[in-house]
């Protein structure tokens, strides 16, 4: 994960707002200043005109009555208006009265008015000249401009503060909580609910949308994970079943359900090892259905298969269910492995099976006739220095002996041998 410098939206927003507010301040201030300038300028001339017309009658009387003190007082009154920097009154008889700041004469605008006589307005008793100070105008302009700027700046500060406060409270804090939550969320804690510390009265906003979306995502993720688990379990069991079937198929004979020679080769050495280690008996019974080739040839393979199935059933019935096991060694050759069984016991088992096959195993043929079969048995017990091959060979030799002695018999002969006859 690349470590990036955090650039909060809040500060971006503030920068943008600040930029625009400054722009607005400049625009609005300029506009207002311009409007003020026009208004002040207009007022300026009007003010001077007003002052003149307010004082002209009084000046007229004062000059007519020759009251120099009153004239001087009028000048002082006129000068109380800050826009007028200098006043000069000239009576038509030549007398002059002045007041104000002579130094400000230079940059001033001169406005001259005739003073009418009190009784006869067509005659004049003198003139009054006002010097209007434009620096006052400029000061006034600057003053109004500064006031506007201060107003807008104060307004902007309040807007900033409001924006910052709202961003902090409604965006930054919840977002940080959200980020921290997501960062610390462990896969096994997916169910943990995201709870933001927010005041409920703020209402439902975008943050709540995000939180809700997150909840939805958490739920669906959880559902998805649960589904996956079930699927995997199902597949695994299917696989296991398949494996079991496959294994069964690989170690059993499809027709008789006996173990096949592959399994025998795999399992027999372990069986021998166990018997040796625990000093136990282990015996093998090698058996073969007599004249099986002839049955196949005479009655067909279907009957042959039925014979094979019936024969193995007969074997299985006589053996211990979970201890002994049967292997189809060849076409009609079977080996029975009998753990914990001595040669004598094995011979008894073999004899009992031989008799049962001879007397009880009959197959009903399609033509209604009954088919009787017999089998020959060679038995071998595990001896010292025996291995699987030597043991099988010895059993096979016995089987051969039984075959050669006329079939339907067990070799070696156990004493006493109960011969029940063909």
């Amino acid at each position: 994960m690349s470590k990036q410098v955090l650039q909060p939206i809040a500060s971006l927003l503030i920068r943008r707002v600040f930029k625009w507010v400054i722009l607005c301040v400049i625009c609005i201030s300029s506009l207002q200043a311009w409007l003020n300038y026009r208004a002040i300028e207009e007022n300026f001339t009007m003010t001077v005109d007003d002052v003149a017309h307010a004082h002209l009658p009084l000046l007229s009387v004062a000059i007519w009555d020759i009251e120099p003190q009153t004239i001087q007082k009028q000048i002082d009154l006129i000068l109380k208006n800050k826009t007028i920097s200098y006043v000069a009154i000239k009576a038509s008889t030549g007398q002059q009265f002045t007041g104000g700041d002579v130094n400000r004469l230079g940059n001033g605008q001169h406005m001259k008015f005739n003073i009418p006589a009190p009784a006869d307005a067509s005659k004049t008793v003198g003139t009054v000249e006002f010097v209007v100070d434009k620096t006052i105008l400029r000061k006034e302009l600057l003053r109004s401009f500064i006031i506007v700027i201060i107003e807008v700046i104060i307004l902007s500060i309040f807007i900033f503060m409001a924006v910052v406060a709202i961003l902090r409270r409604d965006l930054e804090k919840p977002m940080r909580q959200l980020a921290d939550f997501v960062k610390n969320l462990q896969a096994n804690q997916l169910a943990t609910k995201l709870e933001l510390k927010r005041k409920p009265e703020d209402g439902y906003n975008e943050i709540d949308l995000v939180v809700d979306g997150f909840h939805t995502m958490q739920d669906s993720l959880q559902k998805h994970i649960a589904n996956q688990d079930a699927l995997v379990a199902e597949r695994t069991s299917q696989l296991e079943t398949a494996m079991k079937t496959l294994k069964q198929l690989s170690i059993t004979d499809g027709l008789t359900s006996c173990y096949n020679r592959l399994l025998f080769n795999e399992r027999m050495p372990a069986e021998i090892q166990r018997a040796v280690r625990y000093q136990r008996h282990l015996s093998l019974v090698f058996c073969d259905i007599d004249f099986f080739k002839k049955i196949n040839d005479e009655y067909g393979h279907a009957v042959g298969d039925t014979v094979l199935i019936a024969f193995t059933q007969c074997l299985a019935d006589e053996l211990r269910a979970d201890v002994d096991w049967i292997v189809r060694y060849g076409g009609e050759e079977f080996i029975m492995v009998l753990p914990e069984t001595s040669l004598l016991a094995a011979l008894e088992v073999a004899e009992r099976i031989r008799q049962k096959v001879e007397h009880q195993l009959t197959i009903r043929l399609a033509n209604g006739n009954m088919l009787h079969i017999t089998a020959s048995f060679g038995v071998a017990q595990l001896q010292a220095a025996d291995n699987m091959e030597s043991m099988v060979q010895r059993a096979d030799e016995c089987l051969y002996k039984a075959k050669s002695q006329g079939r339907n018999r067990v070799q070696p002969m156990a004493a006493p041998v109960i011969y029940l006859g063909p």
């Binding site: 007519w64 009555d65 020759i66 009251e67 120099p68 009576a91 008889t93 030549g94 007398q95």
Partner: protein, 350 residues
Amino acid sequence: MTVTFLNPGKSDEIYWVTASNGMSAAAHSLGIHLEVIYSERDHLKTLEYAKQIAARPAGKRPDYVILSNDYAVGAEALRILDAANIKTFFAYSGINDAGDREKTGMPRQFYKGWLGVLEPQAEDAGYQTARALIQRGKTEKMFSSDGKLHLLAIAGDRSTATSYKRTEGMRKAVAEANVVLDQVVYGDWNRAKAQEQSVWLYQRYPQTRLIWAGNDLMSFGAMESWRARGGKPGRDAHFSAINTSAEAFTALESGSLTALAGGHFITGAFGLVMLYDYHHGKDFADEGLEQNRSMFILFTPEVARRYQQLFGAQNFEKVDFRKFSKYLNPAIKKYDFSFRHLLTQSDQRK
């Protein structure tokens, strides 16, 4: 008998000092103890002094206070003093304003201690000087281009009754003689202001040759500016004045001042005579509580010389004011308060 005079003028102002001197002489001859307090032409001070007098302990209060209603403070001063049970008498200037009259009523009406009023007939002074001035203008044919005599007036102030009455007297003379009154300005009895105003007036009315003034000082101011223009007062222009100052007499003597009226300063002294009689049970009520008497005379150079001989140092001790008292002279049926009589009366004593 003790009397306090609340003098409205300044303690160095010739007219009002002369008035005080005249009263002192009268007090002296009648055996009255007189106290004079100058308000220095500050009307608020008049009220302040009235309050101080009213606040005095009973033994130190005067029997009578003589007031002049200059600057229209009389009604208020009267109220203050009457409330303290001090008897009052108006000399020189009485209650003339209708608004004040409503408050004060007649003497002895609302204010029982207000005994009466003695005023010089101020119109007389204005009338006599203006008439003399116009007479002189006519004989010297100082007509303007319109063939008429023109006159400029520098009056005293706008609020004092004396000023108004003198101006009215002047207007009466002007109307009688069909003279053009170019303009009336108010010089506030002040020499410098009159001088400045006259400069304007001469420029405004270059053909006018007659200048009437409400007192002597303003006349002198107008003369000064006339001289400054290169004129000669008394020869190419004529000036009139009111008041008996030494400078006025000198100007009259030299011819620069054409007409001078005066003598009314003696009003206070005659007021003392009336109070003296009242004090001694001879009430003046039968002749009227508010008396308006002609006390002015128009001075000729000869009369002026005579006056100066008699009272040159503003000393009126030569006058025996006992002669005017009805109490002391039961034969007198009516007061005779003319200034001319004063001159002749003094002669008799010589």
